[in-house]
């Protein structure tokens, strides 16, 4: 297993390099450049040119890429072009923990709700309860995140005041875990809804399949009660395909969080990414691309490792 992990880690490097090249090319080739959005009409052409020269933005793309790569290899992600003076690293680090927190809590909530419901549906398929859960699942998948988010904010936050309207914590108050959680719940639940819905379907199907297996019949023949049969013998097997899903869910979380970040005013990397793209803040964009790519790759590796842990038939 250790060799497997090492091998995967080594393989990550060419993947990331490839991603960086493609992204760099695409971003640079898009029309527009960082000074395009300097809105004052009186900015002179010389000032604009001086700016472009200073940041090496007039060099040919491969040259710029090599320079950037050189920086990266020294561990330097570069400076933001728009927020001059701030390093890409500090801008990302200021927000990355918020995104990770949101993603992780969201995933936990999604699993915590989806799996029990999926399992329950599988044990009592085609009953009224099962159909009800199914309907809600489909509703969850079909309803856009931001609409649910806006509804949540409008009613639960503004109308009833049960939840804060946004942000990570209450302004100007000392740190409190309860306060943080209070701010975290709504965005995490909303972010998790569509994944929750598909996870429910997936675990239901997987469990239905498992409960049909011979070893379940064996377990019953041993005299175990339904609960033990389903949870000790069934769930361990049923969860295995669901774990694979987790790896696939990661990119969704990173991308999908943009909308949630907007609606709930959550300072994560999603919005940073969008703004950087529109402003053509190349170093920041590249930094974010690499961070996201790394997250996805690591996430997939984790999923594969978990898979091996859960399923003894898999041996690397």
């Amino acid at each position: 297993m250790i060799t497997y992990i090492i091998r995967r880690c080594l393989l990550t490097i060419p993947v990331l390099v490839g991603i960086s090249m493609v992204s760099f090319g695409i971003v640079q080739l898009a029309p527009g450049e960082p000074t395009a959005l300097f809105i004052d009409p009186e900015i002179s052409a010389e000032d604009r040119e001086a700016y472009l020269e200073h940041y090496g933005l007039n060099d040919p793309i491969p040259v710029q890429y090599v320079k950037w790569m050189g920086q990266i290899l020294q561990g330097n992600l570069g400076y933001s072009l728009i927020n001059q003076g701030m390093t890409v690293q500090e801008m990302i680090l200021a927000r990355l923990p918020n995104t990770l927190l949101l993603m992780i809590v969201s995933a936990i909530i999604a699993f915590a709700i989806a799996i029990p419901i999926g399992v329950y549906s599988a044990t009592k398929p085609y009953t009224l309860k099962d159909y009800t859960f199914t309907t809600f699942s489909f509703l969850g998948v079909a309803t856009p995140n931001f609409w649910i988010g806006l509804l949540a904010v409008t009613f639960l936050s503004v109308q009833f005041g049960w939840f804060p309207t946004g942000g990570v914590a209450t302004l100007n108050e000392p740190f409190s875990i309860f306060d943080r959680l209070h701010h975290l719940i709504l965005p995490a639940v909303v972010l998790g809804t569509s994944d929750m819905a598909s996870l429910t379907r997936y675990s239901r199907t997987s469990m239905l399949d498992v409960l049909d297996q011979d070893y379940i019949r064996t377990a019953r023949a041993k005299g175990f009660k339904q609960g033990k049969v389903v949870y000790k013998h069934g769930l361990r097997n049923g969860l295995i395909p669901v774990i694979t899903m987790t790896g696939l869910m990661l990119p969704n979380f990173i991308g999908g969080s943009v909308i949630i970040e907007k609606v709930f005013n959550w300072p994560g990397i999603g919005l940073l990414f969008i703004d950087a793209t529109f402003q053509r803040d190349y170093p920041l964009i590249m930094g974010l691309v690499m961070v996201s790519a790394l997250l996805v790759v690591v996430g997939n590796l984790l999923a594969d490792i978990l898979y091996a842990i859960f399923d003894p038939r898999i041996e690397y």
Partner: protein, 543 residues
């Protein structure tokens, strides 16, 4: 509780919520007392929470261009001169000033009672340092053009400074002297090209302003606290928190929930604002904004290069209806590149009333005949062009479509429209790759003719439409040097009339800017540019 049961509980709560909402008429506790703005004595205290869509980039007016930046910079810094709400220059760090006869030298007498936030005294050294930066050849920033005429900034004594110009600069007070003075004792020793990226700009700004920098939580908020030693007296309000809320629905939601005290409204949200005002939960004020919208013609287009065509198009667009439908009536039709509250505003320029019949006549006389497919033609050239607009501006998109519809129906033009992502849009405009572009300028408080109309700016500047009129160039140059304000305004107004006649732009409108704020907030002054004009004199009424 069991998983199945937990789910039903959630469903129940959801349905209950829907039910409660249906029964609720939408009103809620309003803690605002009588909303009259001049009650009682100013009292110290309170935290002013304001909301904006984007965060700052740098805290240094010589290196930034976004309006969010200038809002926050205004809390912490001062220029030598400040333009008040009537667009009149007022003393800021300079107590008074004089111009030499030939207009080539300005002398500023500085206040002697000002301290920097770190306790150092403000002196002429700071002024010399600051205004020498943008004229240094190593300066890398977007503000060089405001200081083009500066030759030298000289210290006369600790509180007197002389600025030598290459040419008279009538816009001196409104433009260059508004830039915030920077501390020489912190930045003075740096190589000029490094000033823009120093930590001062993002982490430790030190200014002379009414508020001191406290904290910037990226993506969340910027906080400033009252400067006890401010030279006009300690501000009443203890601190200001500028909350970064990237979604405008959230902004409004936060205000409604009482989490914000102040925000700018877009046209679409005005009805919500009015609702809040009715409930006594807000005060809404408006002012003509220092900006205008227009359609930019590319004068190299075979059809659009003809003045008659442009006149016809102007007659063919019902601008009043546009304002009524798209802006809900919150704007004024413009015919010149200026806004009514400016001192130089030609009241009587050539006006192109909405008159489709007249437009058709003009086109007929100019030789544009209606072709077989309904589109006009002249010498094999069709009256066909495209309009582009940038993404995310629904007002411009709607206007674009109205123009297309009216011009196609009445005038026999063939119009295509396209929405392009913002940065790519700017790029295309800079490269002159457009026929007509939906644009807007935010204007300086100095009434001078914009360089966007100058022939010399076609090559690498802001004259994207290839407009060139030697008369206008001459008037512009003269007015840029004319020291006497009255004479200057005459020259400017003359140029405005010519531009109106030439129609390099189809001038659309200048809209009103709306602000919504907490009724407890007193002392609020609406200003065409500065959202928080004289914020140190604002205060919260106590209950």
């Amino acid at each position: 509780m069991k998983k199945g049961k937990k789910f039903w509980l959630n469903v129940f709560i959801f349905i209950l919520t829907l039910f409660l909402v249906a029964c609720n008429d939408g009103s809620f506790d309003s803690t605002a007392s009588d909303a009259s703005a001049t009650d009682g004595e100013p009292a110290e205290g309170g935290d002013l929470i304001v909301g904006g869509l984007s965060g700052p980039t740098v805290f240094n007016s010589l290196y930034s261009t976004s309006s969010t930046d200038s809002t926050i910079q205004d809390f912490m810094f001062n220029g030598l001169v400040e333009m008040d709400e009537n667009v009149e220059p007022q003393p800021d760090l300079a107590e008074n000033w004089e111009q030499s006869e030939d207009g080539l030298a300005w002398t500023f007498n500085l206040r002697d009672d000002v301290t920097w936030h770190d306790g150092e005294s403000f002196t002429a050294d700071d002024v010399v340092f600051t205004y020498s930066l943008p004229i240094d050849e190593d300066y890398i920033g977007p503000r060089g053009s405001s200081f083009e005429k500066f030759e030298e900034v000289v210290k006369i004594d600790d509180y007197t400074v002389e600025i030598h110009l290459s040419d008279p600069a009538p816009d001196m007070l409104a433009d260059a002297m508004g830039y915030h003075v920077l501390p020489e004792h912190i930045l003075g020793d740096l190589p000029v090209e490094e000033v823009g990226t120093h930590e001062f700009n993002t982490k430790e700004p030190i200014g002379t302003g009414p508020y001191k920098f406290d904290e910037w939580k990226q993506g969340q908020y910027v906080r400033v606290v009252a400067n006890e030693d401010y030279f006009e007296g300690r501000p009443y309000i203890d601190s200001i928190t500028y909350k970064i809320v990237p979604d405008k629905n959230s902004l409004l939601a936060q205000f409604t929930a009482g989490d914000l005290d102040h925000l700018s409204l877009t046209t679409e949200d005005i009805p919500s604002g009015e609702g809040l005002v009715e409930d006594g939960a807000a005060i809404m004020e408006s002012i003509e904004s220092a900006s205008y919208s227009f359609m930019l013609y590319n004068l190299e287009h075979p059809a659009l290069k003809e003045k008659e065509v442009r006149h016809a198009l102007a007659h063919g667009l019902d601008r009043n209806t546009v304002i009524d439908t798209v802006l809900d009536g919150n704007g004024n039709v413009l015919d010149i590149p200026a806004v009514p509250f400016m001192p130089a505003y030609n009241e009587d320029p050539p006006v192109f009333e909405y008159d489709p019949e007249k437009a058709k006549e003009i086109l007929d006389e100019a030789g544009w005949e209606v072709g077989a497919d309904g589109v006009r033609e002249k010498n094999g050239e069709r009256l066909s062009f495209s309009i582009i607009s940038n993404q995310g501006n629904s007002v411009r998109e709607k206007i674009m479509l109205i123009a297309k519809q009216q011009w196609e129906e009445e005038l026999g033009a063939e119009v295509s429209t396209e929405i392009i992502e913002s940065s790519a849009f700017s790029d295309q405009v800079h490269r002159h790759e457009f026929d007509i572009a939906m644009r807007g300028w935010s204007i300086s408080l100095d009434p001078g003719i914009s360089s966007a109309f100058a022939t010399e700016q076609i090559e690498n500047g802001t004259n994207y439409g290839f407009y060139s009129n030697p008369e206008v160039d001459r008037l512009r140059e003269e007015s840029d040097l004319e020291p006497d304000p009255e004479k200057r305004y005459e020259l400017i107004e003359e140029a405005q009339a010519i531009i109106a006649e030439d129609q390099p732009y189809l001038f659309l409108y200048n809209s009103d800017a709306y602000t919504l704020y907490n009724p407890k907030l007193q002392g609020h002054i609406m200003h065409p540019k500065a959202e928080f004009y004289r914020v140190h004199e604002w205060w919260f009424a106590q209950d």
